[in-house]
């Protein structure tokens, strides 16, 4: 019983991080129809900037804000400089759909190399702002620390902010309209180009939050968020790739599911298990938990 509770707690904490990464991927997919592999690079770059700030100032809050702003900025730069140029020059044929994805893979490599040149490829310790020792109840210690609590609260806050923006604001309405029917959105007067950039900015910020929250549990390297990209992608697909709520539910499902598999079967199975979960999700519900069939065909 205790083991199951532990698995659940670890799963929830990881699941929230996966959800954030999934959210970032979904935001970019919805606004520009690109699977952005560079998201892992953008997130780790933001995390390095947060690391730099926290080492210099010893102020985690400042580092968090700085890292998230950097993430947002990098998102905007990538969309404006790279993606817009690509869309302008490669707008037809089978290459049009593939070019941005390949470009994002290339960008991932580029960002990691730049980080390696600036900070080195060795591990950097990202010290946690709060305790990573599990809470103790009587004689039992659970694998859920203040840091895990911070992860859950931080991620949940980001999700609530996004939900409010998307459902209650004009900006959110414009983002949704531009995602569903860009042409009609333009005819209604929405500046779809600017709205697409906004999608990338939000995604950059969400990825940065994921990177900055997960890294204090571990050391960082230019490659340390690559696996998160895979988990985030699987979570996004489980959620239907189109839906923000889907990304959150997909992330939590994957986080908790994997945690149970690792607890009861073995830690070496994490990647095979991820793909089993993805395959099962696609077999049982190809359109994802929250995706419609129409959206998948679009």
């Amino acid at each position: 019983m205790q083991q199951a509770i532990n698995a659940l707690l670890i799963g929830i904490s990881n699941g929230f991080i996966y959800s954030l990464m999934a959210l970032a991927l979904v935001l970019v997919w919805r606004s520009t129809r690109v699977i952005n592999f560079a998201q892992a690079g953008q997130a780790i770059l933001s995390t390095y900037i947060a690391y730099e700030i926290v080492t210099r100032t010893d102020n985690f809050i400042l580092a968090f804000i700085g890292g998230v702003l950097a993430g947002a900025l990098v998102g905007a730069v990538v969309e404006i400089l790279l993606m817009r140029t690509l869309f302008k020059h490669v707008s037809d044929g089978p290459v049009a759909a593939l070019a941005p994805v390949i470009a994002s893979l290339g960008l991932l490599g580029l960002i990691r190399s730049v980080i390696g040149m600036v900070w080195g490829n060795d591990q950097k310790p990202f010290f946690p702002p709060v305790s990573t020792n599990g809470f103790t109840f009587g004689s039992t210690t659970v694998p859920f620390s203040r840091m895990n609590l911070l992860i859950v609260l931080g991620a949940a806050t980001v999700m609530i902010i996004f939900t409010l923006i998307f459902q209650k604001s004009n900006l959110g309405l414009a983002l949704r309209a531009a995602a569903f029917q860009p042409e009609i959105a333009r005819l209604a007067g929405i500046r779809v180009g600017a709205i697409r950039t906004t999608g990338w900015i939000f995604a950059g910020a969400a990825g940065a939050v994921a990177g900055i929250l997960i890294s204090p549990n571990d050391a960082i390297t230019p490659y340390s968020l690559d696996s998160l990209l895979i988990f985030g992608f699987v979570a996004a697909v489980i959620g239907g790739l189109e839906s923000l709520i889907g990304a959150v539910v997909g992330g939590l499902t994957l986080g908790i599911g994997l945690s149970f598999i690792l607890t009861y079967i073995g830690t070496s199975l994490i990647f095979p298990a991820t793909f089993v979960v993805l395959a099962l999700a696609l077999i049982i519900r190809p359109q994802g938990l929250f995706g419609s069939k129409a959206a998948r065909n679009a």
Binding site: N170, F180, E183, A185, R186, L187, G189, I190, V192
Partner: protein
Amino acid sequence: MSGLTVKDLVVDHGAITAINGISFTVEPGQLAAVIGSNGAGKTTLLRTLSGLKHASSGSAQWSGEYILGKKPENLVRHGISHVSEGKSVIPELTVKENLALGGIWRKDKKDVVAVTKEVLELFPRLGERLSQRADTLSGGERQMLAIGRALISRPKLILLDEPSLGLAPLVIEQIFHTIDQLRHKLGLTIVLVEQNAMSALRIADIGIIMNLGKIVATGTATELINDPALHAAYLGY
């Protein structure tokens, strides 16, 4: 010069010339019906005028300003609203959100509220369905929603692409009646593209008959309706 003036317009669709050098003028407050069969270039004409499609050559002026090459989102700000073919609404959004979309860019929020109220008075059915998703509406209701959304940006020129497409005859009549009412009430200039030639000409001031990218006849709506040669060739019936 005011009104809409199109001169020597050529629009290519890849290797095909969709519009091959057409010129016409629509005076302010007029309703021009553009008639022709599939492939005549009617839809391409509207898409070019609203900025969705690039022209290869020629010019178009609205209220004295050259409009070709401008983006649709900017032309809306110059009073041009395009209601595109096939009930131009966003099915995933609610009726309320679809209407709100038309006013997002506008600074005068008070007037957005006022004009939304007017639209709901004009189309009470939409008022009853505000929180429903647009894809639950009937074809006629969707067309009303599309026109309603366009009105919220307070346009002076409306480009209407086949509002009758896929609607039942009774609903078509109702839509045409509404269009006729609207333009008199609001002093709108309208370019109405239709395959439903007679219904369109009945409410139009002038008619422009297109075939394979060219204008084959223009005139007042009455003249065109009464021209036996045109009847046989293009208007059907």
